[in-house]
Subunit: 294 residues, 2 copies
């Protein structure tokens, strides 16, 4: 069951669909439950919290590592996306993960591959507007990973909030028999959301980056105190640009479930942001509870 | 396990995803294998041959009956598509089928449904050109049916040859863990391929309809004798129109696996036709073996 990559004493690495199916079938025969944690690698504490989340729900956890080319646009960072499989393997082993599934691009998209999955509604706007190919690519690769492994549960981080909603949507629509779990964002002590792309930040930029989360948190506070949505968001946008971010893709208040734009806090909302700092496009989001009547 | 529709002495009918999953889970616990036969109902001997095919491969067979609205275009025959669930149920029972799964449209596409599957390559041209929404609709509904039931095998008729290739393509691409079986077209004594849409034909049209298959068969004969593809196809097209068909959507020679156009019979080919006779759009296809060098 090593699938070509296992080494004694180290976490087993499997690179083929047949291999991961055989490993999981062995667990299934023993009556064990399975959680999948899909990742693009370069793992940090946020990913390991997802593994931990999976371990609390299931007896076995599989982490997948695949930098999915079809969710990157032609001018995006596919080629420089950070990678460290050996380090990832050690971290997963220390976190108690049972298996690393790291398929090749040729295994995932062999010649002749011709199928795409698209999701309307929750995938529109926000990152779906800034990165038009992303959610189709995410839907296609996550469907493949889920159908390759057929886990009981798959765990995704709420740092990618819109992505979690897109995944819930197509999993429900296509009747993929798996439960989707969202796990809270893990943050540095200064509030910056953990992200593999934080590695793109220079030391100076790293000092500026926490403004993103601070601004979201303050905006939520003002909304809770009865502040009007339009002015609160306008001030938040200005503050982020004033703090050294070069470009704001969006900072918006949306319905927490449908992602429809919200003009008042009369329903559970989510405040979401994407902004550029140096070479890094950083995203973050926070819950906006129902506020006072306005 | 009746799912709301079972009656003693009659084939069990289930209308919900949960219901069909529970029924199949019972068989799985007993170690039984399962074949799915997806249909749009109004069953004829061609469908029952698919059930028979499934019974030879698996211990249990489930036939699904669902007239899938999203694969019909706005001007197509969704509203008048023939239906006879009671008759279908009797035929399936007589054929030894174990279960009829007949979900409602609301069960398959509840409010908020927002996901689509598209397939390029084999879905282009032929019926994909004449009915631009069809194969996306087929891919989406077949994916749902396969993931609702997770059979070992699913059986489809080769009368819809391009559809079988599209299904094989996305099943492979999405890693849906099921084996796709194509079963040969069943024909009337005079050669007409069985089809629920033959019910649209008047008695006079029914008399003209066999020209479709006769023309294909003769064209294959001429190709086998060394006839040039262009002239042979041109003559076949003319003959079908001369026999009373009002319109030809296509009559083409394609590669049997990729569906790329073939200009000579130097590879295994497929001759495919779609033509209108009265209110009925009839399709058919035949194998074209590799011919003599030209």
């Amino acid at each position: 069951m090593t699938g070509g990559g296992g080494t004694v004493g180290q976490l087993n690495v499997i690179r083929t669909v047949d291999g991961v199916r055989a490993a999981i079938a062995g667990w299934r025969r023993a009556g064990e439950t399975v959680a999948l944690i899909p990742t693009m690698g370069y793992l940090h504490e946020g990913h390991l919290a997802l593994v931990d989340h999976g371990r609390r729900l299931c007896q076995r956890t599989v982490a997948s590592l695949f930098v999915n080319p079809i969710q990157f646009g032609p001018t995006e960072d596919l080629d420089r996306y950070p990678r460290d499989e050996a380090g990832d393997r050690n971290k997963l082993q220390a976190a108690g993960c049972d298996l690393l599934y790291a398929p090749t691009v040729a295994e995932m998209y062999p010649p002749g591959f011709a199928t795409g999955i698209s999701v309307t509604g929750v995938s529109g706007g926000l990152c779906g507007a800034a990165r038009p190919q992303m959610f189709g690519g995410v839907a296609t690769v996550v469907t493949k990973l889920l159908l390759q492994t057929l886990p009981d549960v798959a765990v995704f981080g709420e740092k990618d909030y819109q992505q979690v909603l897109v995944i819930r949507r197509f999993v429900r629509d296509l009747d993929i028999p798996v439960r989707i779990e969202g796990a809270p964002t893990v943050r540095e002590a200064d509030g910056l959301a953990l992200s593999s792309r934080n590695s793109y930040l220079t030391a100076a930029e790293r000092g500026q980056a926490p403004v993103l989360f601070q601004t979201l948190t303050e905006a939520v506070g003002r909304l809770q105190e009865g502040g009007e949505v339009g002015p609160v968001l306008a001030e938040a946008r200005a503050r982020i640009l004033a703090a050294g971010f070069s470009k704001l893709d969006y900072l918006e208040l949306r319905d927490a479930e449908t992602l429809e734009p919200l003009e008042r806090t009369d329903r559970p909302g989510r405040l979401l942001v994407a902004a550029w700092l140096g070479r890094a496009r950083l995203i973050d989001n926070v819950a906006v509870p129902e506020g006072k009547a306005q």
